[in-house]
Amino acid sequence: MRRLLVGSGAAVFAVLLIGALLEPLPGGIDLRIAVASHMAASGVEHPVTAVLLNFRGYDTLLEIAVLLLAVIVILAGGLDPAVDRPRAANPILQSLARLATPPMIVVAVYLLWAGAFRPGGAFQAGAVLAAAAVLLHLTGLLPSWQRPALSLRWGMTAGFLIFLAVATGLLAQGALLRYPPAQAGLLILLVEAGLTVSLGLILAGLFLFLSRDPGDEE
């Protein structure tokens, strides 16, 4: 009964919504023009990065806080005791991890660097770093994180703190996160570099703090 009700409700909703989507809309504000005309002052050449770190950088600041928060919540929820089960390593997969990790690092830095003028950026770079960590962990080359050591906590927070410090420091320019056009590029790079490392650690932490059980292979 419930299924039927919710299901038909969702179906009706979807139909209504699609119907409304297909209606012609009055032209609204087109921000593409505004973005394009301010690109020069944004410090980067890629519009999405300009929006993410300059025009709407404040969103990103809070978003990083959300991500950091997720790790804290996981830690606060309490970590299960890690299961320590001896197991043989799989040399082929290990070698894959060994082989793939250094290129992943290069790719991560590349994405960070590319973010300034083409798709890429701190989040994607951090995700690649985290993926490398996950791969290493899955193949048994990186143990799971038992507790957040001080250095790890610093690492995970540093990016956010740098961002926060830059945002606060720029208050001197008259507004939060108001980059002076001349230094914008460098500051954004600084922030992104910090974020890459921290995001990598945070995203890796999401996996490495959670995954306490090495599986039952062998």
């Binding site: 409304a20 009055p26 921000l31 709407r56 804290i72 606060a76 309490g78 926060l164 507004a175």
Partner: protein
């Protein structure tokens, strides 16, 4: 204005770096500064009579994000800091060293407060979504922190509710953006008219529905009692006093702002749900077995009042009534949860029936509970009374006698559950009752919050004046 956001972000993340269980003084210091900033902001807004604007990044809407502080924001910010500071002091004494539930309390609470402040200051629908998530996830974390199965289950229930809520809200924002190309509230407000395309109507409905889920409006309240009723006392207090108010504030913002041309058709819906919430929540509170669950259900009921104002908007006294109720309930409910925490800590029992004799052992706490109860019942001279007064006057102004009846009935029902606790507490203690001593600081915080909720009733005029500024 930005300090209110940056400070808690800073102390929260630094508290995390400091490590489990640390950061108390950082938090209390930061909160003190924030309280000063909030009062300063209120003074500025009140003096200027207009909204203060801060274009982040210097771009200004629609390209950038604007922060805006008008009377309404200033009031809510005051509420947050005024409740968070005493609760921080309370939590400092509540969580023992090595307490699993308290290990990450400070960073979580810091992000929660930062999220709340950011939410109250933001004038950008998408940015509001991010702040909503910040608040929601921090709140979930606080519920789950170090808890047992019950807490984790409650946290999960809460998590999914809050995620669905923000999901609906996000879709609404997406549709609004699709229709108008901007998410700035100030720019949208003149653009949305009553002949807006259907998309915008759907968007409005989605946003409001999502926020109602987050505010735990009946019948979306099912997550609230377990979340608020199972968390540690300072957490319950934060959640009940502040977090649910955030989404209510946002509903109000939308209702009075961009969605105003669309809402007249559905103005009675929230009021109807609110009325049901009052009746149902009170009824459940009257039946509840555990003290904290009783208080949590009381929150469900009290939130109902907030929604009674919608058919009365925009009208004299209606907004004032809602905000006064939010403020009063915030202070009182914080006091009540803190008091309940003290009682449970001292007696080691959780059920209402086991409270016998508490009045003798913990007179100050019970007094605080009673004062807070006064506010919830809407008895004079509490702020809750002023809210009720304003609400009844606003309803009479429009000739809505039904609302008057609901308000009055709600007050009586509140009396039933409040006195259910008090009379139990006044009963003679069973001979075998063992009472632990608790830090006096815990009791005093409850008392201060409760007293504030009552004494605010004497200075309601300031709040109303501030609310009128820049609206």
């Amino acid at each position: 204005m930005t300090g209110l956001i940056l400070l808690p972000l800073a102390w929260a993340s630094l508290a995390f770096v400091l490590g489990p269980g640390r950061g108390k003084w950082l938090a209390i210091g930061g909160l003190s500064a924030q309280a000063w900033l909030a009062f300063d902001l209120a003074a500025k807004v009140g003096a200027g009579g207009t909204a203060l604007l801060h274009p982040v990044g210097g771009w200004g809407a629609p390209l950038g994000i604007d922060l805006a502080a008008d009377g309404l924001s200033a009031v809510m910010l005051l509420l947050v800091q005024c409740i968070a500071l005493p609760l921080a002091i309370h939590a400092g004494a509540y969580f023992k060293r090595g307490d699993a539930a308290g290990a990450y309390f400070w960073p979580l609470a810091g992000f929660l407060i930062a999220g709340l402040n950011a939410l109250f200051l933001s004038a950008d629908l998408f940015n509001l979504y991010v702040t909503l998530e910040l608040v929601g996830l921090a709140a979930v974390g606080l519920v789950a922190a170090g808890g047992g199965a019950q807490q984790v289950a409650a946290a999960l229930r809460y998590l999914f509710a809050t995620l669905v809520g923000s999901g609906l809200y996000l879709l609404g924002v997406a549709l609004i953006h699709g229709a108008y190309g901007t998410v700035s509230i100030a720019i949208l407000t003149p653009l949305v008219t009553s002949d807006a395309p259907r998309l915008v109507w759907i968007a409005g409905g989605l946003m409001l529905a999502g926020l109602m889920v987050k505010t735990a409006l009946f019948p979306f309240h099912t997550w609230l009692p377990s979340a608020h009723g199972n968390a540690p006392a300072p957490v319950s207090a934060l959640l009940s006093a502040l977090v649910v108010k955030a989404s209510f504030y946002l509903i109000l913002r939308l209702w009075l702002g961009p969605l105003a041309p669309l809402t007249s058709a559905i103005a009675w819906l929230p009021a109807l749900l609110g009325a049901l919430a009052i009746l149902w929540g009170s009824w459940q509170a009257i039946r509840a077995e555990r003290l904290k669950r009783l208080i949590a259900y009381s929150t469900v009921a009290q939130l109902g009042y907030l929604f009674l104002i919608f058919p009365l908007l925009p009208g004299t006294d209606a907004l004032e009534a809602g905000i006064m109720q939010a403020f009063a309930h915030g202070l009182a409910k914080a006091a009540m949860f803190v008091a309940a925490g003290v009682i449970i800590e001292a007696t080691g029992r959780e059920s209402v029936m086991d409270l016998s004799g508490a009045a003798g052992h913990l007179p100050l706490t019970l007094f605080a509970f009673g004062l807070a109860g006064m506010t919830l019942m809407g008895l004079p001279p509490s702020a809750g009374f002023l809210a009720k007064w304003l609400l009844i006057e606003a309803a009479l102004d429009r000739g809505h006698w039904g609302l008057v009846a609901v308000v009055l009935a709600g007050g009586l029902l509140a009396a039933v559950y409040v006195f259910r606790v008090l009379r139990q507490a006044f009963l003679l203690a069973p001979a075998d009752a063992v009472v632990k001593s608790v830090p006096r600081r815990l009791e005093w915080v409850a008392f201060l919050l409760a007293a504030a909720s009552v004494l605010l009733g004497l200075r309601g005029v300031d709040l109303v004046r501030l609310l009128g500024a820049g609206a």
